[in-house]
Symmetry: C2
Subunit: 352 residues, 2 copies
């Protein structure tokens, strides 16, 4: 008590106001008439504390509104029970859904999630983010971003931090959790070909996106496998607006009967463009998306798309980092989360 008063009045000058700070173990110990170590034992539910004593301590805790100071705890334990998540943007469905799942899984495991947004995807920015993470109270990091940007920052990543990367091809250097883009794309293309379409056009995502690239490559491979020719893909930037613009161009292609869009938002824009140009979906043109965002079932028409299990991705990310934290060693290799084709009304046999 006295020590506390002293220090408070000592630093009470300009900057320090009255400390409404939490009571410490020592305070609880004093009130309960025990040592602070016993308070610690009660707080951490350690065995070897008399029931009566425990009650007394708990009463004191309640009285003082005691909450353990996590900074001290982290300092002592050398662990923060926190996972950092680095990402560029929360504008894409995938990132958000993954983040949500990560947060939920982490909470289940008693871990908190700290968000580290990187505003502008320049190398310096990423490097800065990692360096800030180094100072951050974080035991492990989950990175949701393109691998080439990650590379730029690699050196700045503190060596003891465990990392899991989402949606990347860096499986040789990091633990990677990825959606089975290839499988989903293949299923989408096969579905269209099986319906009788001669070939499938592609509304691709941005060039600098690894996920987009994977889908494009898989689309090409699936066509090649069936011995079909791959038309030149048209690129968007994931947004519905870009899908619309690309769709206007696609609508002018002669012989267009089926389009595989790299995500649902672009598919939405595509639907609008086709509608405006008088191409009916699915009678004239079949459209298939990727992601299965909640709204896609309400598009006009309801969109056939590839469902991604973001929740599972998040779960595996958390499991991955926690495994690394426990074992205290880095992991490598890629985990693939399966996808599933959801058939709705935007695909049909080509017009007769």
């Amino acid at each position: 008590m006295k020590a506390r008063d002293d220090s408070a009045s000592a630093r009470g000058g300009a900057a320090g106001r009255r400390r409404t700070q939490n009571a410490s173990m020592a305070d609880v110990a004093r009130v309960a008439g025990v040592s602070s170590q016993t308070v610690s034992r009660v707080a951490n539910a350690f065995p070897g504390v008399n029931e009566e004593t425990r009650q007394r301590v708990q009463a004191a805790m309640g009285e003082l509104g005691y909450h353990p100071n996590s900074a001290a705890r982290a300092l002592k334990r050398g662990a923060f029970h926190t996972i950092g998540v680095i990402t560029f943007t929360l504008s894409t469905t995938g990132n958000v859904r993954t983040l949500e799942a990560i947060a939920a899984s982490a909470a289940e495991e008693g871990y908190a999630v700290t968000l580290l947004p990187v505003a502008v995807p320049t190398q310096d920015e990423v490097r800065g983010a990692f360096s800030r993470l180094g100072e951050l109270a974080v035991d492990a990091v989950i990175v949701i971003m393109e691998v080439h940007l990650l590379d730029a920052a690699r050196l700045a990543l503190p060596p003891h931090v465990k990392v899991v990367v989402v949606d990347s091809d860096a499986g040789d250097r990091y633990a990677v959790v990825d959606t089975d883009q290839a499988g989903g794309t293949r299923a989408a293309v096969r579905h269209l070909l099986d319906l009788g379409h001669r070939t499938v056009w592609h509304l691709a995502g941005p060039e600098d996106s690894f996920a987009a690239e994977r889908r494009t490559v898989a689309w090409r491979a699936a066509l090649a496998e069936a011995g079909r020719e791959a038309p030149e893909p048209v690129r968007g930037d994931w947004s519905a607006e870009s899908g619309y613009r690309a769709g206007l161009r696609l609508a002018e292609q002669p012989g267009l009967t089926a389009v595989f869009a790299a995500n649902d938002q672009m598919a939405l824009g595509l639907l609008r463009a086709l509608h405006e140009r008088g191409r009916r979906v699915p009678e004239d043109v079949s459209v298939i998306g990727f992601d299965d965002i909640p709204e896609s079932g309400s598009f006009l028409p309801p969109l056939t798309t590839v469902h991604q299990d973001f929740a599972e991705v998040g779960r595996r990310c958390v499991a991955g980092v926690l495994r690394q934290v426990e074992q205290d060693e880095a992991e490598r290799g890629t985990t693939l989360v399966p996808t599933r084709l959801v058939v709705r009304s935007s695909t049909a046999a080509p017009g007769v």
Copy 2:
């Protein structure tokens, strides 16, 4: 001390692989041949360090890959430089966009953001979340949730934690940042009435949502103000699917010419339902949404909607909590972020 000396001298210049754990100030001090206090001064860019010494220290830092330990720092400073965000779900556009803006603003101010998801919105869950937050390394909390659930948890909220609430009517007890729902709704209804519609129907959000309630009340008020009758509102749960189901019912209403949907997703479902029932938009029925999600410009037809400035909401939230942290005292009162009507193609004069 002894073990530490050994290990430090042992690794000298080569990176020891055993405890690659962060080097401490003491390690840096030893290498640089100064006291740890001088290292601290360099690390915090304090004045009164000789240039030459500073260089030497910085060299040592680089060599050892030194990163300040934030747990120790937080313990010493009594502050974490972290803002906690409590929310139920990242499934709604608003929450996500707000969170994104919060994260960005916080990063700008040098604060990290810790996410605390609450899976199931029961009172116990919320209480648990707050109590966990109490142990968390957090200086302030931003709550994105309905106020009645917040109330349930009020007692569990540690008293020293500063709070800002988004989208709530608890301005008398907390600092609240809210979107001008009433203004936006009013603009939407006026827009439709000015186009010549006799009245405006309402596709409402879930009952337990404060934001939904505000919009419903404002819609009713705007109609009353114009001396029009308010039809019974139809309820959805924010999802496009629920909008579709509600839309099927609305499509059967005789005299339906204009609908104000409480968010864009439900408007999307509504569009689909109207389309299926052969009611053309906007020729037969005008539809207006709320939120202005990025996709709404690509709906069929592009949606007239009320734009919400989530970025501004996030910014004000961060500013609010940081102000409280600095002043070390709680604030109250509500800040309103203005909305803006975005007119696209889903509204027109009623069919002649």
